[in-house]
C-alpha cells in the first residue's frame, strides 16, 4: 500500500499478509492430518460395511456437539475424529477473520476493524 505511512516497528499490511498466509497453510494442513487419521480408524472399523447415503437421514448429536464429539473420539471412534478435522478446517477462515481484526486494530484502521467484526458476527451468530 503506497499510501500508507511506513515507520519501523509499526504493524503493516505486509505483516498481516504473512501471518494470514501461514495461518491458512497450517490450518489446512492440521485439518487434513486429523481427517486422514480419523479416516484410517473409520475404514479399519467400518470399511467392510455398506454405505447408506441414498436417503438423507441427518447426523447424530455426536457429529454436531463438541463435547459429545470429544467423548466419542476418546472411545476410539473414527467418524467423530474426521468431523473434528472438518471443524478445524471450517475454523481456519474464521480464525483468519479474527487475525485480520487484531491486525487492523494494531494498524489503527478502525473502519476495517469494525467491518471485520460485523463479518465475524454474521458467521458466529449463525453457527
Amino acid at each position: 500500500m503506497g499510501t500508507m505511512k511506513k515507520s519501523p516497528g509499526e504493524i503493516q499490511d505486509a505483516d498481516l499478509e504473512k501471518v494470514i498466509g501461514n495461518l491458512l497453510r497450517y490450518g489446512v494442513l492440521t485439518s487434513s492430518l486429523v481427517v486422514f487419521a480419523g479416516g484410517l480408524v473409520y475404514l479399519i472399523r467400518h470399511g467392510g460395511e455398506l454405505p447408506q447415503y441414498h436417503e438423507f437421514r441427518g447426523e447424530p448429536d455426536k457429529m454436531k456437539k463438541p463435547t459429545l464429539m470429544w467423548e466419542a473420539i476418546c472411545r476410539g471412534e473414527g467418524r467423530p475424529l474426521i468431523q473434528l478435522g472438518l471443524l478445524i478446517l471450517v475454523a481456519t477462515p474464521i480464525a483468519r477473520v479474527i487475525f485480520s481484526f487484531v491486525g487492523y486494530l494494531l494498524e489503527k484502521d478502525y473502519l476495517y476493524a469494525v467491518l471485520t467484526v460485523i463479518v465475524l458476527l454474521v458467521i458466529l451468530l449463525n453457527f
Binding site: 485439518s31 441414498h54 441427518g58 457429529m63
Partner: protein
C-alpha cells in the same frame, strides 16, 4: 460396494475433479455435486455439505500462497465479505426449504452460466483517472506485483460490485459451490480490477463465505464425515498437484474439454430435476 471401495473410488473421483478444477480455473466443486448425486446416488443435501467442505479446503490452501505473494487485495476481500457472508446465510436457509428437484435444476442452470462466463474476456482494468470517493474512503485502490514491477489500479463501481457479491454469496450458500466465476465477473467487469487480483481475491473470500453457511448445514446434519473425508482429501490433493503442473501443462484445450463435461453434467442435473429422479 463396501465403504472401503466406495471411499477409494470417491477419493479418486475427487482427486481428478480437484486436478481439473485447478488446471482450468473452473473449480473442482462444480463437478463434485453432480458426481455425488448422479453417479453415487447420494442425497443432494449431503452432496452440498460435502462440496462446501472441499471448497473451504481448496480455497484456503490456494489463498495461503497468493496472500504471501501480495496479489490478493485483502481490504477489498474483507469489505466484500460483508456481502457474501450475509448472502451465504440467506442461501443456506433457502436450501433447507427448497425441494430437491428445484435445487438440482437451479444447480444445472448456474453450472451452465459459470462455464460460459469463464470464457468471457475480462474487461480491461482501470489504472488511470481519479479514484471514486467510496473506493478512497474504503482504501480499496491498491497495487499488485507484475513482471514489470508494482502496478497501480483503481476500483470502480463499489456499490454495484457489492450487490453482485451478495448474489454470489446466496448462490454459494444455496448450492454449496464457491461461485468463483460470479465473483470474478463482479470484480472484473463491474469493479474493473486486474484479472490476477480478482481471481486471487475471489479465492480468498470463498473460504469465509462457505464457513458462514457451513454452520447451518452442520446443524441440519448435512455434513457427513464418511463422505467428506475421501472428497476433501482427494480434492485437496488434486488441487495441489494442479498448482504444481500449472506452469507446464497446456490448459486451453483442457478447459474446453472440462467445460463440455460440465455442460453435460448440468444437462443431466436439470433432466433429473424435471423428472424428480434426484
Amino acid at each position: 460396494m463396501t465403504i472401503l471401495v466406495f471411499s477409494i473410488i470417491l477419493f479418486i473421483g475427487a482427486l481428478v475433479a480437484g486436478l481439473l478444477g485447478s488446471l482450468t480455473g473452473l473449480g473442482g466443486g462444480v463437478v463434485l455435486i453432480p458426481l455425488l448425486t448422479l453417479v453415487f446416488k447420494v442425497d443432494i443435501h449431503y452432496a452440498i455439505g460435502t462440496s462446501l467442505i472441499s471448497v473451504i479446503a481448496t480455497s484456503s490452501g490456494a489463498a495461503a500462497a497468493y496472500v504471501k505473494e501480495g496479489i490478493t487485495n485483502i481490504r477489498l476481500g474483507m469489505f466484500l465479505e460483508l456481502a457474501t457472508t450475509a448472502g451465504a446465510i440467506g442461501g443456506a436457509f433457502l436450501a433447507t426449504y427448497l425441494p430437491t428437484a428445484v435445487i438440482a435444476i437451479l444447480f444445472g442452470c448456474i453450472l451452465i452460466i459459470s462455464a460460459a462466463l469463464s470464457f468471457a474476456r475480462p474487461a480491461d482494468p482501470i489504472t488511470i483517472g481519479s479514484p471514486s470517493a467510496l473506493s478512497q474512503k474504503l482504501r480499496l485502490n491498491s497495487s499488485y506485483p507484475t513482471a514489470e514491477g508494482e502496478k497501480q489500479y483503481l476500483v470502480r463501481n463499489v456499490v454495484g460490485g457489492f450487490f453482485m457479491m451478495n448474489i454470489a454469496g446466496i448462490i454459494s450458500g444455496l448450492l454449496g459451490i464457491g461461485s468463483g466465476a460470479l465473483k470474478v465477473i463482479a470484480m472484473d467487469n463491474v469493479m474493473r480490477i486486474p484479472f490476477k487480483v480478482s481471481t486471487t481475491t475471489s479465492n480468498f473470500m470463498i473460504g469465509v463465505t462457505a464457513a458462514a453457511s457451513v454452520g447451518i448445514y452442520l446443524h441440519r446434519g448435512y455434513i457427513d464425515p464418511g463422505l467428506s473425508m475421501p472428497v476433501m482429501l482427494g480434492v485437496l490433493g488434486g488441487a495441489f498437484l494442479g498448482s504444481r503442473m500449472l506452469t507446464k501443462a497446456k490448459t486451453a484445450s483442457l478447459k474446453i474439454l472440462f467445460a463440455l463435461v460440465i455442460l453435460l453434467l448440468a444437462a443431466e442435473m436439470i433432466y433429473n430435476g424435471i423428472n424428480h429422479t434426484i
